[in-house]
């Protein structure tokens, strides 16, 4: 498999590490008003453990550890391994911080 890193170009699979589904968003242990989130444990349980088993296109996190050390969002078909798109994580390669709550 080959992944076209937006910073390094097309590289071989061995340079990358797979993390998994890019969809889950990390919840916060605190609510917006600063109080502890009462259902934090449930929210985090979902975030840490529950995953959809997608057959088809899936946005995934990959790490280019053998290259530029960027985290990437790779759209891959899980049944054919076809890679449809590769994007950088919001904080990857950035000179300036992304705005709060940025997602990709």
């Amino acid at each position: 498999m080959r992944i076209a890193c937006p910073f390094c170009g097309e590289r071989e699979l061995g340079e990358f590490t797979y993390l998994g589904d890019a969809a889950p968003k990390r919840p916060s242990a605190f609510a917006a008003d600063g109080a502890e989130q009462p259902d934090a444990q449930d929210l985090f349980f979902d975030y840490v453990y529950l995953r959809d088993n997608i057959a088809g296109d899936m946005d995934e996190r990959w790490y280019h550890g053998g290259g530029c050390r960027s985290w990437l969002t790779v759209t891959r078909n899980t049944t054919t391994h076809e890679i449809k798109a590769v994007g950088a994580a919001p904080g990857a390669g950035a000179q300036k911080p992304a705005k709060a709550g940025a997602t990709s």
Partner: protein, 1020 residues
């Protein structure tokens, strides 16, 4: 492939004489002894008669020519018997002339270079080649295991499973070794391979697999257009079936056209030709695996050259012109030596000028087989008869003077010396015997669809060719010519050219591809004949699977093709069913009353051809099995005779033995005492080091660690603990604040890589809004821990006298940059892992060795002692500091006694999940110390903690010893352990139970801090 069928005989059609009397032939080199090569033709073929090559087969000396394979040389020498079959030890001869050969497997070379299961049909002959037959004892002609054949009624499909079912535990020890002795292939040498193998990458626009007419046409078209082309050919020369057939392309004889094509390819710099290179697999993203047999054709590779090279070829497009494989017919006696594929007979005659027989009979169910009759006649041989199950002469063959018999071959008579006669049975059941010393058979052609099917592409059955053609190919691949199911020469040239043009266009090449070459558009007609009843008819020659085995499998309910394969082992030998699969499927279809398309094929998986493990390993063996990392003081330590230990990729000094010490324990004890009573130093550069910078660096670290770093004063260090998001401990280390927006973070040695990845994930994905940057500086700093009561004295000798190293000027957990004597700058950290008065000093990595020498000089007057990871470990256990064995991925911060560090005021990774019920349960196993009740006893890590008087078992297991050492300060063995409710049980006597070593002793649960519990020494 069979691209060159023709009714005409081109070129010099004069019959060739047998080489019965070589001395009479003036062209015969004198060095060839008379009487050898009895079946060599006196002219023709693509061998060099001026280059005789001596070789041995089972010790017998023979001679062949340059250009021969081992198989063609054996044919030329009249050898019929080359091996014994796997299960029944039946005599077997050469069946094919290619990579699909199931019978002629030999052991090549000798000693450490011995190579079992080498196909004689692809082994190029070299001078001095030594080959041995396999699976026979004491000799090929007299094989005692041939008695297996007498018991063949019981050696049927599934025999092993049924007979050796119970008791199952005997399988490994008794049944399997016995079966392997009786039914086996060649033996590996058992010695280390003296040759080396390498790996390489190649990139191209168009990969062309195969160099027959279709492959050559594709390579020429794409090459002329300007695409970067790789042309991979498994054989040692280009041409594919063009080398074995007669016919014309563009009005020229095949050999002449081929020579011209090769000249043109050689002149095109954008075509890279890779001969002896088999493409064996297709992987995602247009990556192809290929094996180049760089030096398999000579006895010993030249110095510094690999035997084989494993290629990964990245191709934008691939044109696969892998040809087709001729299919055997399944009839009684079809495995006798002297029965040969019809196309192989043509190869031996036309390419190698070797005559498989003097009187050849031909058994076919299709037009293509008839061409073998022509070839035999042209070479001066006799065609005893053509047995065509269809009973008609094909149109193109009407002019030939051949004896046609409609019907089937129902019996083959002969033995170890080959075929003597065959019995032909007609539709009415009448039989007649025909004298012949060779029987050529053709059951049709199977397109070589393997490469199209590795991505779960399912081949599609075609009735017109009675074979499977490629289905959906992997992205970027197209199959052309015979591989695509189109067998005529014209189709091969046309499709190859078109595919080459298309692939070149796709890669942006704009040149002119020229016109496609023209060849004859001969037809191909076949009427399937799947099985002739009457006796043992082989489907899988290599695994001795017969037609009746397939029927038995069906009767016993193994009707799915995947079950058929596993129950009968059909297609599971080293040839992977190249010859047998379709016949097996057809028989199963017949037995179950389905058609072949509905019966389907088994899944194809790479590699297409055997690949030696050595080639896959490449240079990654022995000391190069993985990369090593050396610490900055490695060579200095090695020069002092340090013993090294592998820690991940690192080689770390484990201890430094000195003359007279009898074992490691004595050395380690000396090192610990030297540190605790004086001063010592240890290279700790392997710890992961990360530079964290930016205005939000403090906030970033607060979210990573359970404790707070934003409040850390500049010039101070703090111990930190990270959790995983699931609430369990991830890693620990000290982090220093060097400036308001600059931290220096350390990780454990083991987690240096993963932690960096984790940090980057947090920064780039979780909190991109934070203004912080991370740089891994593990390799940039040489760092030494200097420990012991004389540390400050040593440092005074090392540092600029102006540096204040007093307790006030440089307090515990202080950090700052200092000047060394001579003016060099270094970072100094007052942190301690040993519990002693200690500093860590960091200098640029290139000064690591010089720093080790300077530390020795600066500490000489105090008896400074370098110490290794063992002494480091002893001192941390004495102090109750947790490390790898306690940070096991199952422990919480509180289990480690660090629960109080968990901040309540902020969110951090793992905070929410760390509060889960089971992670805060009161009966968790927590870190304690362990002392033996009998102080003479040695503790063992891994020993289970169980209550006194309890029977050992899962119910009574309360934990285990994680880290164990001999404590020089206490004078006996001590341990850290994880023990249920351990903190409440200090003083309790339990047992350390170690069934692995048969030990069971009483031990006392204690505080994990054995030495200097008040911590006065490190603060002094």
């Amino acid at each position: 492939m069979s691209g060159t069928r023709t009714g005409r005989i081109s070129g010099d059609a004069a019959p060739l004489a047998f080489n019965d009397n070589p001395a009479a032939d003036a062209r015969q080199p004198r060095s060839v002894p008379a009487g050898t090569q009895s079946h060599r033709l006196s002219s023709g073929g693509q061998i060099d008669r001026k280059q005789p090559l001596g070789f041995t087969f089972d010790g017998k000396k023979m001679v062949g020519f340059a250009g021969d394979t081992l198989a063609s040389a054996l044919v030329a020498n009249g050898v019929k018997l080359v091996g014994r079959s796997f299960k029944y030890h039946r005599p077997r001869g050469i069946l094919t002339a290619g990579a699909e050969e199931p019978n002629a497997l030999v052991e090549l070379r000798s000693g450490a270079r011995r190579e079992p299961n080498t196909r004689a049909t692809t082994a190029e002959l070299y001078d001095g080649l030594a080959a041995q037959s396999q699976n026979r004892w004491p000799s090929l002609r007299h094989d005692v295991m041939a008695v297996n054949s007498l018991f063949s009624p019981i050696f049927v499909a599934g025999f092993y499973y049924k007979t050796f079912m119970w008791p199952a535990k005997l399988w490994e020890k008794l049944y399997e070794p016995a079966i392997r002795r009786a039914a086996g292939l060649g033996k590996a040498s058992g010695e280390a391979d003296p040759d080396h193998y390498e790996k390489a990458w190649a990139h191209c626009d168009v990969l062309v697999v195969g160099s027959g007419p279709a492959g050559l046409a594709a390579a020429l078209a794409a090459g002329r257009a300007g695409a970067r082309v790789i042309l991979a050919e498994e054989d040692n020369r280009l041409g594919g079936r063009l080398l074995s057939e007669n016919g014309e392309i563009d009005g020229k004889p095949l050999a002449e056209w081929l020579a011209g094509a090769q000249r043109e390819i050689a002149a095109l710099a954008n075509i890279r030709v890779m001969t002896r290179t088999a493409v064996f697999g297709v992987y995602d993203g247009g990556t192809y695996g290929a094996l180049e047999r760089v030096n398999d054709h000579i006895a010993v590779p030249p110095a510094h050259q690999p035997r084989q090279r494993l290629w990964r070829i990245v191709a934008r497009r691939a044109v696969v012109a892998a040809g087709a494989i001729e299919r055997p017919l399944v009839f009684p006696g079809n495995d006798r030596p002297g029965v040969m594929m019809a196309s192989a007979v043509r190869s031996y005659i036309n390419r190698f000028a070797a005559m498989p027989g003097r009187r050849v009979a031909l058994f076919t169910n299709n037009d293509d087989g008839w061409r073998t009759a022509e070839a035999v006649q042209r070479a001066g041989g006799t065609v005893a008869a053509v047995i065509d199950s269809r009973g008609v002469v094909p149109e193109g063959c009407r002019g030939l003077n051949l004896r046609l018999l409609g019907g089937v071959v129902s019996e083959v008579n002969g033995g170890v010396d080959g075929v003597r006669s065959i019995v032909v049975r007609d539709a009415g059941g009448r039989t007649q015997q025909i004298e012949a010393d060779c029987l050529a058979m053709s059951g049709g052609w199977n397109p070589n669809v393997a490469l199209s099917s590795f991505h779960r592409g399912r081949p599609v059955w075609r009735d017109d060719i009675a074979a499977f053609a490629p289905g959906q190919c992997p992205p970027g691949m197209v199959m052309v010519g015979a591989a695509g199911g189109d067998f005529s020469l014209a189709a091969c040239l046309r499709e190859g050219h078109a595919a080459g043009v298309d692939a070149a266009k796709d890669s942006g090449a704009k040149g002119k591809a020229g016109a496609a070459a023209q060849g004859e558009d001969e037809g191909f007609a076949i009427k399937p004949l799947w099985h002739v009843e009457g006796g043992k008819a082989f489907v899988d020659f290599q695994h001795d699977v017969t037609a009746s085995d397939v029927k038995l499998a069906q009767r016993e309910g193994f009707e799915s093709v995947e079950h058929l394969k596993r129950y009968t082992t059909l297609g599971m030998a080293t040839d992977q069913g190249k010859l047998s699969n379709v016949n097996g499927l057809a028989l199963m279809a017949e037995a179950t009353g389905r058609n072949i398309a509905d019966t389907g094929t088994t899944i194809y998986r790479p590699p297409y051809a055997p690949v030696a493990i050595g080639a896959l390993a490449g240079h990654h063996r022995d000391e190069n099995f993985h990369a090593w990392r050396l610490t900055p003081s490695h060579h200095w330590a090695a020069a002092r005779g340090a013993m090294f230990v592998d820690t991940g990729l690192w080689k770390r000094a484990q201890w430094y033995p000195i003359a007279g010490e009898k074992d490691w324990l004595e050395s380690v004890t000396r090192e610990v005492l030297a540190v605790r009573n004086g001063v010592g130093f240890c290279d700790v550069s392997t710890l992961g080091k990360v530079d964290v910078r930016g205005p939000d660096a403090g906030t970033f670290l607060d979210r990573l660690y359970i404790n707070t770093f934003s409040s850390l004063a500049v010039g101070k260090a703090r111990y930190g603990l990270m959790l995983r998001e699931d609430g369990l401990v991830y890693d620990d280390g000290t982090t220093s604040r060097l400036a308001e927006d600059h931290y220096f973070l350390t990780t454990t040695t083991a987690k240096a890589g993963p932690a960096m990845q984790h940090l980057e994930y947090c920064r780039q994905v979780l909190w991109p809004e934070l203004d912080v940057q991370l740089t891994s500086v593990t390799d940039q700093w040489a760092q030494f821990s200097i420990a012991g009561p004389n540390t400050r004295d040593l440092l005074k000798n090392l540092c600029d006298p102006a540096e204040d190293l007093s307790n006030e000027g440089f307090p515990f957990m202080g950090v700052r940059e200092v000047s060394l004597r001579g003016g060099m700058r270094a970072r100094l950290y007052r942190i301690s892992f040993s519990g002693e008065m200690a500093f860590e000093i960091g200098v640029p990595a290139r000064y690591g060795e010089a720093m080790a020498e300077n530390l020795m000089r600066a500490g000489a007057e105090f008896g400074v002692t370098p110490y290794g990871t063992e002494a480091l470990g002893v001192m941390r256990i004495e102090k109750g500091h947790v490390a790898g064995p306690e940070l096991s991925g199952t422990t919480t911060a509180d289990d480690l006694g660090l629960g109080k560090m968990m901040s309540k005021k902020k969110d951090y990774i793992g905070r929410a999940m760390a509060g889960r019920e089971a992670l805060v349960a009161p009966d968790r196993q927590v870190v304690v110390g362990i002392k033996p009740v009998n102080k003479a006893n040695r503790l063992r890590s891994g020993a289970h903690v169980i209550p006194r008087g309890a029977a050992p078992g899962p119910d009574t297991d309360q934990g285990y010893l994680t880290s164990v050492c001999y404590s020089p300060m206490l004078g006996h063995w001590i341990a850290l352990a994880l023990v249920e409710r351990g903190r409440e049980r200090h003083g309790e006597i339990v047992r350390a139970y170690d069934p692995l070593r048969g030990e069971d002793m009483e031990v006392e649960i204690t505080s994990p801090v054995f030495y200097d519990p008040e911590g006065g020494r490190q603060r002094g």
